[in-house]
């Protein structure tokens, strides 16, 4: 049965159509894999087996009737940030203890509409704040990958660490994830998986627990570019319940995957060549450009002059919005309540017990930068920087560039409990240095596994596209995937 879990999403879907196996068999295979692996990897915080079996049985009925949807019978893992009706939805936090919403997020509802099966809820950094999945109330997720000859537990990246680990370790055929500063692309790069953050507004935010509303965007993590495209086609679409959702038709993203890069202009931003960047990352970047050039793309040096301000500005805007978005977790309506002598005491005790250190840190930063007397110096200026970053990209795209290639992360996955990062949160924040600009500008970005570092750990490249031009990213991402030709299967140790 484990064989079934090794199929790509596209292959599994075809197998279901060909009646090579049933949706129930496919789901059972995944449930078995989860039961075996989760105690070690901690990728799932809740497994919804009963629901999975029911959904799979319903899929089999639809398949038998010839009414299978695009994702009919495909077992998926759902990041704990998505509201799923009647099941565990806690955003990796203690403060949402016991919370089970009475509603289904638009993105997951779209997936169920297309026939997908929910296996369970995936671990994540608390409220999507983190780059290692170590801030989760449910404990860290362990990366299925280990360095060659090493027994050291590595992080899967974050905040969608559970999603990336589960996809990489064959614990689901694909997963939903979200990306506010790199939370899809960085964990994808750390686990040898494909992750795309769509253009802001492409996927509805309705029913997804908010971190930083102007930056949050849902997207898939999958084992192949094609699988990511299939998932994104289902997840996307205009939603009148989200005022920031884009009223645009959703293309068939899978149809764009084999389009190639002939004639495309690929930009190489000089500002992304950081001091002290490891040579293997540099080499991988050059290799990626070679692959694209070999398939008919033109490579052009470009400049995005405000890049260096992106990370500091991001760490003002995102915490500011978060401090306000997280005000609703006050012990009054749902989730954790720690009673106190009066209402203020109750608020303080509840929030002190319910939020972890990183969330508290960001709520405090956000509260500070919005305070009277500091607002103009921090928040307003950060928003101006954001406009400048956006203009940098607009200028380059207006100049004929179709997509931009950069490294996805400054390094491969690091160890769980890394002392350096623990001592200095800014070191952890630097993980997002190549990815935050994309969120600040609202652009689409895809991370594709492209190589391995000296110890055999996956490394990813990032492609950044024009607004609502995810199709070019899938096409170019596929060229990198194909050219690399590497099997990104972790060695099973769990």
């Amino acid at each position: 049965m484990t064989e079934l879990t090794r199929l790509s999403l596209a292959a599994a879907r075809k197998g279901l159509d060909d009646k090579a196996f049933s949706a129930v068999e496919l789901t059972e295979a995944y449930l078995g894999a989860i039961a075996a692996a989760n105690p070690k990897l901690n990728a799932y915080v809740a497994v919804t087996d009963d629901q999975a079996r029911e959904m799979a049985a319903a899929s089999d009925e639809r398949l038998a009737a010839g009414k299978g949807g695009p994702l009919e019978g495909i077992p998926l893992g759902i990041k704990d940030l998505f509201g799923t009706k009647g099941s565990h939805t806690q955003a990796g936090s203690h403060i949402l203890d016991g919370f089970k919403p009475e509603y289904e997020s638009t993105v997951t509802a779209n997936l169920w509409r297309d026939g997908a099966v929910m296996l369970g809820k995936l671990n994540m950094d608390e409220f999507a704040m983190g780059s290692s999945n170590e801030t989760s109330y449910y404990g860290p997720v362990i990366n299925p990958w280990r360095g060659e000859g090493s027994n050291l537990d590595l992080v899967p990246g974050g905040s969608s660490g559970g999603s990336a680990a589960a996809v990489s370790a064959w614990l689901c055929a694909g997963a939903t994830a979200t990306d506010t500063g790199g939370s899809i692309r960085q964990p994808a790069a750390f686990t040898g998986t494909v992750g795309i953050k769509p253009t802001y507004g492409r996927c509805s935010r309705w029913g997804v627990v908010a971190f930083a509303s102007s930056l949050d965007q849902a997207g898939p993590i999958a084992r192949t570019v094609e699988d990511a495209a299939l998932l994104m086609t289902s997840m996307s679409g205009f939603d009148p319940k989200d005022s920031t959702s884009a009223d645009l038709a959703v293309p068939d993203f899978a149809a764009a995957v084999e389009r190639g890069v002939k004639g495309l202009v690929i930009g190489v931003p000089r500002e992304y060549r950081m001091d002290g960047m490891p040579e293997e990352i540099e080499a991988l970047w050059r290799q990626g450009l070679e692959w694209l050039r070999a398939e008919g793309a033109t490579v052009r040096d470009i400049s995005l002059p405000h890049t260096k301000y992106a990370l500091p500005a991001y760490y003002i805007v995102a915490p500011a919005e978060a401090s306000s978005n997280l005000a609703r977790y006050d012990g009054v309506k749902y989730g954790l309540r720690v009673s106190g002598k009066d209402i203020t005491d109750m608020y303080e005790l509840t929030r002190a017990a319910g939020f972890g250190r990183e969330v508290k840190r960001r709520v405090m930063i956000g509260t500070y930068v919005l305070s009277a007397g500091y607002y103009d110096a921090y928040y307003v200026r950060a928003q101006k920087v954001r406009t400048l970053i956006k203009r940098d990209f607009e200028a380059v795209f207006a100049d004929g560039v179709d997509a931009i290639l950069t490294p996805a992360t400054p390094s491969a996955a690091f160890g769980v409990g890394d002392e350096d990062m623990k001592a200095d949160p800014v070191k952890m924040y630097l993980n997002d240095v190549f990815t935050v600009t994309v969120n600040m500008a609202g652009l689409p970005g895809i991370a594709v596994p492209a190589g391995k570092d000296a110890s055999g750990l996956p490394l990813g490249l990032q492609l950044i596209g024009k607004p609502f031009d995810e199709e070019t990213l899938f096409a170019a991402g596929r060229v990198i995937e194909r050219s690399a030709g590497i099997d990104f299967s972790p060695k099973v140790w769990w």
């Binding site: 998505f82 509201g83 919403p101 309705w206 908010a210 005022s243 401090s323 009054v332 009277a372 928040y379």
Partner: protein, 492 residues
């Protein structure tokens, strides 16, 4: 913000202190609940008086991942109100979050408008006796109402009712142009009249759908503005007047004793008729306003505004001017007639094609007075405009006297019916038969020789004879005819 003083200090509104005169400066922030079927950012009903927590959606309860979506009707209502206040309409405005913790504020922030409101500067005209004064409007913005905390249901817990949570409010901010409690009261009343004409707020202060925060300071006439105190949540026009008078006196007493005013928020206690401190400036919240990232800037075009302008009803100031011109009523009567739209419509229906002045007298002195006595409004009147017009017709034609008219009004009020038919059937018609009147006059003169002698010296005594004749005729004699016949018979 620089405050510009638009008013000339006027002696009649000064308050005398121990050390000389003082002038009160008042500005108001009125919260008016928008008349709409559903809430500002959710589809929940706004119906008043439902059981607790029955008008609550996931958005109103701030469930994780819920997002606000603007209710276009509330936007239209705000624009209509702006047009009614002759104000600038901003085609682009921004919703901001006002952050603070309170159990009846589920999101932990109120969605409001801060730097870029939907409506800018406008004006309201007030009739103060002979004078019409103009009060500046600073802005109008849209915001969410909070829920309600209930503290008397449990010994050590509070309950929260979210029915109001998310209901749309318009905050209408005046400039500090008001100079007395009377002006402030007139402003609130006029604003309420305008909102009711527009149908954008029901103006029911006792139900809380309109409430005022009153800013009060005092100064030497024409001097620099003083430090102000804000009196929160005043819920009647009368209380606003009382609160201002108390607060001005309190501030004057402090200043005359050599003290200084602390900028603070105060509450008015209607039972004691006084204001007391709620929180000082130091305790004021830092609301950390910032643009709500869940909402795009609110934008519309000129056509949107033009369409709303077209559908606007005639407003009280315009109606008043037209009544003066068309019906020949006095400015005061026109003001009274236009106090509410239904009343003005009623008046107009009864006055059309009749003597407008007589109709106005009847509407104000008889009809409105009677409605007030019964605690009814014009829509509940048992007497229709046509019936009241019929009574006015009979008086105008001289078929009945004004006094009989009052009796007739009572009959129509109680029993209904066509006034002309009632007069006919019950023999209430005025006697204009001069012969019949002459007979009565002759009898009265013959029976009262002493009075006849006196009236020669004192012609004003004719009133006594008129009274006698009217009494004898059961009030039905035409008083004008009686007068003339008496004059000729008595030789005066």
């Amino acid at each position: 913000m620089t405050i510009i003083d638009t008013r000339t200090p006027h002696r009649k509104s000064f308050i005398a202190g121990a050390t000389g005169d003082w002038e009160i400066i008042i500005g108001m922030e009125v919260h008016a609940q928008v008349t709409s079927e559903s809430k500002l950012f959710s589809g929940s009903s706004t119906e008043f008086g439902r059981p607790a927590n029955s008008n609550v959606s996931f958005v109103d309860a701030a469930m994780p991942g819920m997002l606000p979506v603007i209710n276009e009707e509330c936007v239209r209502q705000a624009v209509r109100t702006g047009l009614g206040l002759k104000a600038q309409i901003n085609k682009r405005s921004i919703f901001d979050r006002k952050n603070y913790f309170y159990p009846d504020l589920p999101q932990g922030y109120q969605i409001s408008q801060y730097l870029d409101p939907i409506v800018g500067e406008g004006r309201v005209l007030l009739d103060m006796g002979e004078e019409t004064i103009e009060i500046g409007i600073e802005r109008l913005h849209l915001e969410q109402d909070a829920g309600k905390s209930i503290h008397d249901q449990h010994p050590n817990m509070s309950f929260v009712d979210l029915n109001r949570s998310g209901v749309a409010l318009m905050e209408i901010v005046s400039k500090p142009d008001l100079r007395s409690a009377d002006e402030a009261k007139a402003y609130l009343s006029k604003l309420r009249t305008i909102l009711r004409y527009l149908g954008t707020c029901d103006g029911n202060m006792e139900q809380g759908s309109m409430r005022a925060d009153v800013n009060v300071s005092v100064r030497r006439p024409g001097g620099a503005f003083g430090t102000r105190c804000e009196i929160k949540n005043v819920n009647s026009v009368r209380f606003a007047g009382q609160a201002i008078e108390y607060e001005a006196r309190r501030q004057i007493d402090i200043l005359e004793d050599g003290g200084t005013i602390d900028q603070e928020t105060r509450l008015f206690d209607p039972k004691l008729g006084e204001t007391r401190s709620m929180r000082s400036k130091e305790e004021a919240h830092d609301y950390r306003y910032f643009p709500d990232p869940d909402l795009l800037p609110l934008e519309f075009d000129d056509a949107f505004i033009a369409k709303l302008a077209e559908g606007l009803p005639e407003l009280p100031d315009e109606k008043k001017a037209r009544f003066i011109a068309e019906y020949g009523v006095t400015a005061y009567d026109a003001m009274v007639l236009t106090l509410d739209r239904a009343g003005a419509d009623f008046y107009e229906a009864m006055a059309k094609g009749r003597d407008g002045k007589l109709a106005a007298n009847w509407f104000i002195n008889e009809f409105s007075a009677r409605l007030n006595k019964e605690g009814m409004d014009v829509t509940q009147s048992p007497v229709s405009a046509e019936q009241l017009g019929g009574i006015v017709d009979l008086i105008g034609k001289g078929d009945i006297s004004g006094k009989i008219g009052k009796d007739l009004f009572e009959i129509v009020w109680a029993e209904g019916g066509d006034p002309a038919e009632i007069v006919e059937a019950r023999g209430m018609k005025q006697v204009t038969d001069l012969g019949a009147i002459e007979t009565v006059v002759d009898e009265i003169i013959a029976a009262n020789p002493d009075q006849v002698a006196k009236v020669k010296d004192k012609p004003s005594m004719i009133g006594w004879f008129v009274g006698q004749v009217m009494k004898a005729s059961g009030g039905k004699a035409n008083p004008q005819a009686v007068n003339e016949i008496l004059k000729s018979k008595l030789g005066i």
